[in-house]
């Protein structure tokens, strides 16, 4: 073991491992009846890493041009050993990733974990959701199949409604006035370089804030502790919390691999601009609540409504004076529940009654 000791000492002398280990050894996580939600954030982080690894693997064979993209994905799915598995994991994990970010965000919202001093954690978190949706939107086009082509046409079209720079933004996104191979190459660049860079930076900040401030304890639990009704319980991060994390990650990977094996992700048919759109075209599920809303309200109202709601959502912690003072805030709970129900209901309608 002296070899290990020597190695440890070599590194310790240079990067002060003692200090880091002491921090990890003393790091604790609050333990109470709502602490299950604490694991969702770690799960998102894990899925992001899965996406990075499978994404790099896909890059070994993927070709980002209109002529070769579809065929290269077909090649991955049929010729490359375990290619079907790698691509299916990338697709399933992507959807689970976005789904769990929503769960993470709403659990944080309903427990008012964004309250002072964690406003910056909240803001970086919402930015990460937007970046993840950007990943989803850009990645969807990359296999260059018919549905992706249509969805990208519809999705990028909204850019033209941006005040003053709409036309410019549309051309910037599409690499021209129409969705073409130029769009594919551009989206590829966004998907594998721009978004990963931005996400790494914002994620780094997000994790830094979480480490500096520790986990937030819900107000209701804080109140019980203050009134002496419940003791303040904590568990060590190492190894207790991490073991539970790893258990969750293992189960998640098992589920994703199971789904990938039983139902490998479909490729669809190659994009053809001469083909008319089939009925009931839908965007990816996490855009459906917005897409469905636009069937009921004028386009401008819907688009600007969501834009304003999005900005308000990011800034919400700054206006929740009650929670910031440590008092329960029913109004914000109602807003949170309404947002969840609204999104769930419109998504369901979008899937169950596509013609409505």
């Amino acid at each position: 073991m002296t070899g290990m000791n020597k190695l440890y000492n070599w590194w310790n002398e240079r990067v002060d491992l003692d200090n880091l280990l002491a921090f990890l050894k003393h790091k604790t996580v609050p333990h109470h009846r709502h602490s299950l939600w604490y694991y969702v954030g770690g799960m998102c982080l894990y899925l992001f890493i899965v996406q990075v690894i499978t994404g790099i693997l896909l890059l070994l064979y993927y070709k980002p041009t209109a002529e070769a993209a579809y065929e290269s994905v077909q090649y991955i799915m049929t010729e490359v050993p375990f290619g079907w598995l790698v691509r299916s994991i990338h697709s399933y994990a992507a959807n689970l990733f976005i789904g769990l970010i929503f769960v993470h965000m709403f659990s944080v919202f309903l427990m008012k974990a964004y309250r002072r001093p964690r406003e910056l954690t909240w803001i970086t978190g919402v930015l990460l959701l937007l970046l993840a949706m950007g990943f989803g939107f850009s990645g969807y086009l990359l296999p260059w199949n018919q549905l992706a082509y249509l969805a990208t046409n519809v999705g990028t079209n909204f850019a033209i409604m941006t005040p003053f720079i709409g036309k410019w933004l549309l051309v910037f996104l599409r690499g021209g006035t129409e969705v073409t191979g130029a769009t594919l190459t551009r989206f590829f660049g966004f998907h594998v370089a721009v978004l990963p860079g931005l996400t790494t930076a914002v994620l780094g900040l997000h994790l830094l804030f979480v480490q500096r401030l520790g986990m937030s304890v819900p107000l209701s639990i804080e109140k019980e502790i203050a009134e002496g009704k419940a003791p303040r319980k904590e568990i060590p991060f190492l190894p207790n919390f991490l073991y539970r994390d790893i258990l969750g990650w293992t189960l998640a990977l098992g589920l994703i691999v199971l789904l990938s094996s039983l139902f490998p992700w479909e490729l669809g048919e190659k994009a053809d601009i001469l083909k008319p759109a089939p009925p009931h075209v839908r965007p990816e599920w996490f855009f459906v609540f917005m897409y469905q809303t636009l069937k009921y309200v004028p386009k401008a109202v819907g688009v600007f409504g969501f834009a304003i709601a999005g900005v308000a959502w990011i800034l919400l912690p700054f206006f929740d004076w009650k929670s910031n003072r440590g008092q329960p805030n029913k109004l914000y709970t109602v807003i949170g529940v309404f947002a969840v129900l609204y999104m769930a209901a419109l998504t369901l309608i979008g899937y169950l009654a596509p013609g409505e």
């Binding site: 690894i53 693997l57 070994l60 064979y61 490359v80 050993p81 598995l85 790698v86 293992t250």
Partner: protein, 153 residues
């Protein structure tokens, strides 16, 4: 032996370690297999049409695609363009560091520009760093096409 009791904690740690290790191996195997590409089409090429009869004059060379790598076809100085015996063909991949070689009409030699390697028209190293001769290909003429194949000459 046999009667010794393993402490419960030790046994659990062992199982946990073995489980995580097995999971790691089960993750790595597909990744390693994925990284190794399936045999590419063209890699097993053994015969290609390198040029047309009359395309090369005496003391001229041409680089052609042999599968996924370049080959070099040369009509020897004073060689007969319509006879297979007038030609020689080699892989154009230098045996030193895989640069593509070229025919130097002025020297009547095959030359690698990367590190000034010289080969004669039998593929033998005349000077420079290449360690071994260029692999020679067989030349045959069918109709007006010059075929090059990698079978033993």
């Amino acid at each position: 032996m046999g009667k010794e009791k393993i402490p419960r904690r030790e046994a659990i740690n062992y199982l946990l370690g073995a489980g995580i290790g097995a999971l790691g191996v089960a993750t790595l195997i597909p990744i390693v297999k994925y990284i190794i590409p399936p045999a590419a089409s063209g890699a097993g090429t053994s015969s290609v049409s390198a040029a047309k009869v009359g395309e090369l004059g005496p003391n001229q060379g041409k680089i052609f695609k042999f599968g996924n790598s370049p080959g070099i076809l040369i009509l020897k100085p004073g060689g007969d363009p319509s006879s297979a015996l007038g030609y020689v063909a080699f892989t154009a991949v230098c045996t030193h560091l895989n640069c593509t070689v070229q025919y130097r009409e002025d020297l009547k030699e095959i030359w690698c520009a990367c590190h000034n390697g010289h080969f004669d028209l039998n593929g033998k190293v005349m000077s420079g760093p290449p360690p071994t001769p260029l692999q020679e290909f067989r030349v045959a003429i069918k109709g007006d096409e010059i075929f090059v194949s990698s079978e033993e000459t």
